[in-house]
């Protein structure tokens, strides 16, 4: 709800509402307008450099038309969507369960909170490099451990479906802490009186979860899900270091394709168009998932 406190608001709040929003608006105006406008403009141009000067040529919708024919883009789209959905749902479930338990136990809460935070503290490039070593079929620690219990080692990054699954695993390891941290904070901010009332009324733990906790946690879960989804669409470091998009195009993800087209191949116009399309598709995905989540919540 956005418009409470009618009578008391005049004067004081009316003044302060502008001052308090101004800093954020200033940041957006100064720093975000230019990049987005730039991206949109570049997506309909072709830019070449000659004699040290940029030559802009209007390209209309040519770049957008070329996208469906780009195999890396098509595969990237499918892979990224699949990756995002698998990884994010797993992270939401795991993160929520862990946060729920961590908020309920009395002892060791600080330990769990710190322990679960550790993966996101590590720079993406280190995660990629270290997991690459771990997945190495000849020397990696994972196959070594499997060998200890008598199981055969696998080529984690060499087979197509396995490579995809391996990357999802790394992502889950990397980002469940993010979900955990936010949902734990959310759980701890919930007013306790509603829980107490439910318990007094004789509700079981499961009912309490479904009808009290989850609905109240919905905003926190939704925001975490949305941001997690967005960041998973931007996944780059891990893929770059683990598989480079291979084998074949099994792990080609969009941000990688964008990076390759935009930077490595220096096709700025085309890369911008790709970014714009990805952005639009992502917005669509978010709107659809939020609507689905909301319908689920309303049915509960």
């Amino acid at each position: 709800m956005a418009a409470p406190l009618r009578g008391v608001l005049a004067g004081d709040a009316a003044r302060w509402r502008h001052y308090t929003l101004a800093p954020a608006l200033a940041v957006f105006l100064a720093l975000t307008l230019l990049p987005i406008a730039n991206l949109l403009v570049m997506s309909v141009h072709d830019i070449r450099w000659e004699q040290g000067v940029a030559q802009w040529a209007f390209a209309g919708t040519r770049h957008f038309a070329a996208l469906p024919g780009d195999q890396l883009f098509r595969d990237g789209l499918v892979n990224t969507a699949l990756f995002a959905v698998c990884a994010v749902s797993a992270e939401l479930v795991l993160g929520f369960v862990l946060a729920l338990f961590a908020s309920r136990v009395v002892r060791g809460r600080l330990f769990y909170r710190t322990a679960f935070l550790l993966p996101i503290l590590i720079p993406g490039i280190v995660i990629g490099a270290i997991w690459k070593l771990a997945y190495n079929p000849d020397f990696g620690v994972i196959n070594q451990l499997l060998g200890l219990v008598g199981l055969p080692g696998k080529d984690w990054l060499g087979e197509k479906t396995l490579a995809f699954a391996s990357i999802v695993v790394v992502d889950i390891w990397h980002w469940t802490p993010f979900v955990f941290l936010l949902l734990l904070a959310g759980l701890e901010s919930l007013p306790q009186d509603v829980h107490e009332a439910a318990r007094i009324d004789g509700a079981s733990a499961w009912q309490e979860l479904r009808h009290v906790t989850l609905p109240m946690m919905w905003p926190a879960i939704a925001v975490t899900a949305v941001f997690r989804l967005i960041v998973s669409f931007k996944v780059f470091d891990e893929v770059y270091l683990l598989t480079g998009g291979g084998p074949g195009t099994a792990t080609e993800v969009l941000s990688f394709t964008v990076y390759r087209r935009f930077f490595t191949e220096d096709r700025i116009g085309y890369g911008s168009a790709m970014s714009v399309v990805v952005l639009s598709l992502l917005t669509l995905l978010i709107v659809v998932s939020l609507a689905a989540l909301r319908r689920q919540r309303d049915e509960a």
Partner: protein, 448 residues
């Protein structure tokens, strides 16, 4: 006189005396503005830094080194040359983005700074990449001007287990067929793989690894790049021979998953003793004899890359050229050129080689010390390779072309496509790229 004037005068006097003392050593270099060199971190960086230190000591000129990770180096240099005033005075560019910078017109011909400058004749040619002719848009020492000085002569070489060769009584291969035979003999999975290839798909793995095969079998991506004929010949019979040889090595002497080996994994296999042969670049040599990095210290041999039957050796360039951007003030351009002049001298290159890095001058390789000492045994391979290195591509569309080759060849290695299909598809896609970019191009009919 007041203190205020006395001190500057004293400083000037001191400077004069110091300069006079250093003059003989600094005869080649005069006192110039400080410069900033942009360069990426690498195994040979240590050697370069030592050489820079020597330059600063000898001439009193200041050189700042802006050291970046390799990933992102191209972007940083791009940003600098495209802005109104550049951040960097000397660009150390890798061969992968050399074409882009030449075509974009960002570099200044060195003779514009100093009409008398010439590249020392002892400096290795590196496929004429230090020269550029803006009219024909080619690297030509005949019609072009000199734009840069090579900083590092990194090329691909053949690493082989000299100890296993001795045990099995094998000779160093000069052709791919001989290499195949040797690799098969030493192939003993899972302990030792005969040959590890860079079959992975990345910014540049399998395409770089396969180029020497293609060129030494007499094939090429384009019909005649230097003459401006960009007819795509990637799917020629010679190319098929070259690729089939590659696949044969992978299948009969390689690990079960060559499609996931990037350069780092190939080097890992070599240093852990898991591979009998591999073809990473010479820059990886520093890891081979280091006991903290290698389990095969003293056991590695290096040789020039093999060639196809009747063909020429054709190692691919992965080198670095130092050039000067247009968008910096004249005095810094002069300063940067002063450094380059010093860098290409015999003394400077000798220091470079003593630090274990491939020097850019032919005569340094012949210096007395190196032939005898086992730690310099890599030099013979470099000398043998010197007349042959080739560029992968010389057009700004190179990155797109490599992208196609990486994907299609990798698909063949992992068994998704046949070699014929891979080459045909790649050729068709490259033709499209060149056609859209407005080059004079065409293509060969599909291989059957």
């Amino acid at each position: 006189m007041s203190i205020a004037t006395a001190i500057p005068r004293a400083t000037r006097l001191a400077a004069l005396v110091t300069f006079a003392a250093l003059a003989p050593a600094a005869a080649l270099a005069q006192k110039v503005a400080p410069i900033t060199v942009v360069i990426n971190q690498s195994p040979w960086f240590g050697g370069f830094a030592k050489v820079v230190e020597a330059y600063e000591k000898e001439t009193g000129n200041k050189v700042n080194l802006d050291v970046n990770p390799f990933a992102g180096s191209a972007e940083k240099q791009r940003s600098s040359v495209r802005s109104k005033e550049g951040q960097f005075d000397l660009l150390v560019m890798n061969s992968t983005w050399l074409a882009e910078f030449y075509h974009g017109g960002f570099l200044v011909p060195l003779n514009e700074i100093d009409p008398a400058f010439k590249l020392d004749p002892q400096v290795i040619g590196y496929d004429d990449t230090a020269y550029w002719d803006p009219k024909t848009k080619t690297n030509s020492s005949k019609t072009g001007q000199v734009y840069g000085v090579p900083i590092n002569g990194n090329i691909g070489v053949l690493y082989y287990r000299a100890d296993l060769y001795e045990q099995a009584g094998l000779k160093v291969p000069t052709t791919w067929d001989e290499l195949l035979a040797n690799a098969r003999k030493l192939h003993n999975p899972p302990n030792v793989y005969g040959m590890v290839l860079r079959g992975a798909r990345s910014a540049s793995d399998i395409s770089y690894d396969w180029m020497p095969y293609l060129h030494s079998y007499g094939g090429a991506i384009f019909k005649d790049e230097k003459a401006g004929d960009f007819t795509v010949t990637l799917n020629s019979p010679q190319a098929k021979q070259a690729f089939d040889m590659y696949l044969e090595l992978a299948k009969t002497a390689g690990p079960p998953n060559p499609g996931s080996y990037g350069q780092a994994q190939v080097i890992q296999a070599l240093v852990t003793g898991k591979a009998a042969h591999g073809t990473p670049v010479i820059a990886a040599w520093s890891q081979m004899d280091d006991p903290t990095k290698s389990a095969v210290v003293g056991k590695m041999g290096v040789a020039v890359l093999p060639r196809g039957p009747g063909g020429q050796h054709a190692p691919t360039l992965g080198h670095f050229i130092g050039a000067i951007p247009k968008n910096i003030p004249k005095e810094r351009q002069v300063a940067a050129l002063t450094f380059l002049k010093w860098f290409q001298t015999y003394d400077a290159q000798l220091k470079y080689a003593q630090a274990g890095q491939p020097p850019i001058r032919k005569d340094v390789y012949a210096a007395a010390d190196f032939g005898k000492k086992p730690e310099y045994r890599w030099m013979k391979a470099m000398v043998d390779s010197a007349p042959y290195p080739r560029m992968m591509y010389t057009v700004p569309e190179g990155a797109q072309i490599v992208s196609v080759i990486e994907l299609r060849l990798n698909q063949a290695v992992i068994g998704e496509r046949t070699s014929t299909d891979a080459l045909n598809t790649a050729a068709a896609e490259i033709h499209e790229i060149m056609r859209k970019a407005g080059y004079k191009t065409g293509r060969l009919p599909d291989l059957k």
